[in-house]
């Protein structure tokens, strides 16, 4: 079953990217932020002598999970149920939203507090709750900024990365209820203090908390959330009811596997040795924390993704966003250009697979295949390999439909598989270029070419072939 929700880009990537490229402030904000996290990550990863072995171990554990996912899921369900949690299954975003909305409505509350969660962003939970009259309060600082601004997240870890602190100050001043507008500066501690005051009363009064999970332990039925601000700990412990939305690929076989991932995740994501808060809970603990615990296991395209032997490695992803921070394309355009809640390199391979054929067709081409993402990935997802694989699937699916690109590729393949045709084509190209030499002038380069090469000459000059190909030179040299 294909996935639904906020994983489909409404605009082709080149169009959306062009729109974002025009925003100079955005470019500046992104460059500064991505380079800061990038450098921090490099320092923290450099401290770990067995980082490569950790990456290999992380990939191997996740591959093991994917290889026996059905039985591990049943094991998780049994363990969590035995510990007092109620486990629900959802095939897609709509089902998951309906399950959560019904649970919330049954409590009679009109407001829920939320831990930052990609799964709930993916299924569009806030909008679904709004539709049944429930307001979801985002409590992660950056998610709160985005929510107040009526915007969408542009990064997996740092959803408000596209804003600088002055812009955040303005958002708080105009949108945050009860804020002292005159006294609010763009000093980060002042902004954090305003958010703390705003959120504190919600934490203490709200009856329902909603979270995702970074990891789900199959053998014990435990869920784990790692975070930096302590808002998660509040949402996970204070409400009476806790509902967690978890993608089915989040499983780890055993508690001991956390050893690997709690080293890989913070260093890769925030560039910290250890994240400040790690919360773990197993069903219900009588008299301590939420007494009603629900877990909604979501497929939303993951089973389809699992069926693809090359593409399935995308399901190893632990949402650290290291690939976003090193990606030269993401750095220029930001997360909104990718449409989906999963932007950057991982989004370019995850969104098209979750959504299935037909949607997100331009995303696999949103990369130069430079390979920086693969090097940074803590679970060794070979993103360039999957990008090329998805391009292949797209090309194969479109066979039979006329396309200028396909005709060009076919023709070039036909010409280039044979030495005589190839030599003749080189000769023709060299001769064909001769009349252009006048236009090329002294520098020997062309300023303007017709479509489709006009895309090249929009910002760069193009060279001309010289008067002799290499093989003509070689043949002449060795003819005697």
């Amino acid at each position: 079953m294909t996935g639904t929700g906020n994983i489909v880009t409404p605009l082709p990537f080149p169009t959306a990217a062009r729109r974002e490229l025009g925003d100079q402030q955005l470019r500046h904000n992104l460059r500064k932020a991505t380079h800061t996290i990038r450098d921090k990550r490099l320092r923290m990863v450099g401290e770990v002598p067995d980082w490569e072995q950790l990456r290999v171990a992380g990939a191997a554990i996740k591959d093991d999970v994917l290889a026996r996912l059905p039985s591990l899921l049943e094991q998780f369900e049994a363990a969590a149920t035995a510990a007092g949690a109620t486990v629900h299954w959802a095939r897609d975003a709509a089902e998951a939203c309906a399950v959560v909305a019904d649970l919330v409505v049954a409590t009679g509350t009109a407001e829920v507090v939320k831990v930052k969660s990609m799964a709930t962003q993916e299924i569009g939970l806030n909008e679904a709750l709004q539709a049944v009259g429930v307001h979801a309060v985002e409590t992660d600082l950056a998610e709160l900024i985005v929510q107040l601004a009526d915007d969408t997240p542009s990064h997996i870890l740092v959803p408000a990365i596209h804003y600088n602190r002055t812009q955040i100050r303005d958002i708080f001043a105009s949108r945050m209820p009860g804020v002292d507008t005159a006294a609010l500066t763009d000093d980060p501690p002042a902004l954090a203090e305003a958010a703390r005051r705003h959120l504190r009363s919600r934490f203490l009064s709200t009856k329902v908390g909603i979270s995702g999970a970074n990891f789900a332990i199959a053998s014990t039925g435990t869920l784990a959330v790692v975070e930096s601000e302590g808002n998660g700990r509040m949402c996970l412990t204070l409400p009476e009811t806790l509902i967690s939305v978890v993608g089915i690929e989040k499983l780890l076989p055993s508690f001991a596997d956390l050893e690997v991932f709690l080293q890989l995740l913070p260093r890769s994501s925030t560039g910290e040795r250890m994240n400040p808060y790690t919360s773990l809970w197993t069903g219900v603990t009588p008299g301590d924390g939420p007494q009603t615990v629900h877990i909604v296991l979501v497929d939303n395209g993951r089973t389809d993704t699992l069926a693809d032997p090359v593409g399935r490695q995308a399901l190893r992803c632990i949402r650290c966003s290291a690939c976003l921070n090193v990606c030269p394309v993401y750095e220029r355009v930001g997360g909104h250009a990718y449409g989906s809640v999963y932007p950057g390199p991982i989004g370019a391979i995850l969104s098209p697979q979750l959504s299935g054929e037909g949607a997100n067709r331009t995303l696999p081409y949103a990369s130069t295949l430079c390979g920086a993402c693969f090097d940074a990935c803590p679970v060794r997802i070979d993103i360039p390999q999957v990008l090329v694989h998805l391009r292949q699937s797209g090309v194969d699916a479109a066979r039979g439909r006329p396309s200028a690109e396909r005709t060009a590729m076919r023709t070039m393949s036909y010409v280039m598989r044979d030495r005589r045709r190839y030599s003749a084509a080189l000769r023709a190209a060299r001769r064909g270029a001769a009349p252009l030499r006048m236009a090329a002038g002294r520098r020997g380069t062309l300023r303007r070419l017709p479509w489709p090469l006009s895309a090249w000459t929009s910002v760069r000059d193009a060279p001309l072939p010289p008067r002799q190909t290499f093989r003509e030179w070689w043949t002449r040299e060795h003819s005697s």
Binding site: L21, Y365, Q392, D461, P465
Partner: protein, 234 residues
């Protein structure tokens, strides 16, 4: 050792001087180079654009053409990466694996196979080196090209800031996403100009065409040059 030159289609048509430079350097070091005329294109553009069926005949042609040689050398990191990294995934076979394992980028052949750092070149200019993505992250060339350049008499090597960042070429990416490609190019060109170098060297003429096209557009006084041509100078 029978060494075959795989010049690559881009160099064959557009940059024959790079192919000549490889021949010059290897002959100067006492090796004979052969140029099998059956060679054409490695198929990288087809494969990376998703045209697998159109790539396979080119893979076959490469394996057929080069299987008799002890070493195959190419002045292009991305074409060598295509042969060594992508071929085995596209059409796995023992014959292909064997040819792929004997295919080297020029600096790998010189430094690892022939044990040479100083090729006896002279190039009295200030040069900066851009390590292209596939050389850096697929072939892991490391500092081999820079070692070779550092041994060139008279050459001053200027460090390039953000050297490991992509220039924005990416084959058809430059045409499919010209805006993003151009933004990446602008940053790379600015970094190159900041070095004050007269020459920008790299292991891939495709990337050099891209950066060179940007430099030329802004009339920057930096000349792109394949590092093989520096190694051939004296």
């Amino acid at each position: 050792m029978r060494i075959a030159l795989f010049v690559t289609c881009v160099n064959d048509l557009m940059f024959p001087d790079t192919g000549k430079a490889v021949v010059t350097v290897l002959e100067r070091l006492g090796h004979q180079v052969e140029f099998p005329l059956d060679q054409t294109c490695c198929g990288q553009m087809h494969a990376n654009s998703g045209y697998r069926a159109e790539t396979l005949p080119l893979v076959d042609n490469f394996v057929r053409t080069f299987s008799a040689y002890d070493a195959i050398v190419a002045p292009s990191a991305s074409c060598v990466a295509m042969v060594r990294e992508s071929y085995p995934r596209l059409a796995p076979s023992p014959a292909l694996a064997s040819v792929a394992s004997r295919t080297f980028e020029l600096s790998e052949l010189l430094v690892d196979q022939l044990g040479v750092i100083d090729v006896g070149a002279r190039f009295p200019h200030r040069v900066t080196y851009h390590p292209t993505c596939h050389g850096l992250r697929m072939l892991r060339l490391g500092d081999r090209p820079r070692q070779l350049l550092s041994a060139v008499e008279g050459l001053t090597l200027s460090p390039l800031s953000g050297a490991e960042e992509c220039c924005g070429f990416g084959g058809t990416f430059a045409l499919k996403n010209p805006g993003v490609s151009g933004a990446m190019l602008a940053d790379k060109c600015a970094a190159v100009c900041d070095t004050g170098a007269e020459y920008l060297a790299a292991a891939d003429n495709s990337c050099l065409t891209h950066i060179g096209g940007g430099l030329s557009r802004s009339s920057a006084p930096v000349t792109p040059i394949h590092y093989a041509q520096i190694l051939a100078s004296r």
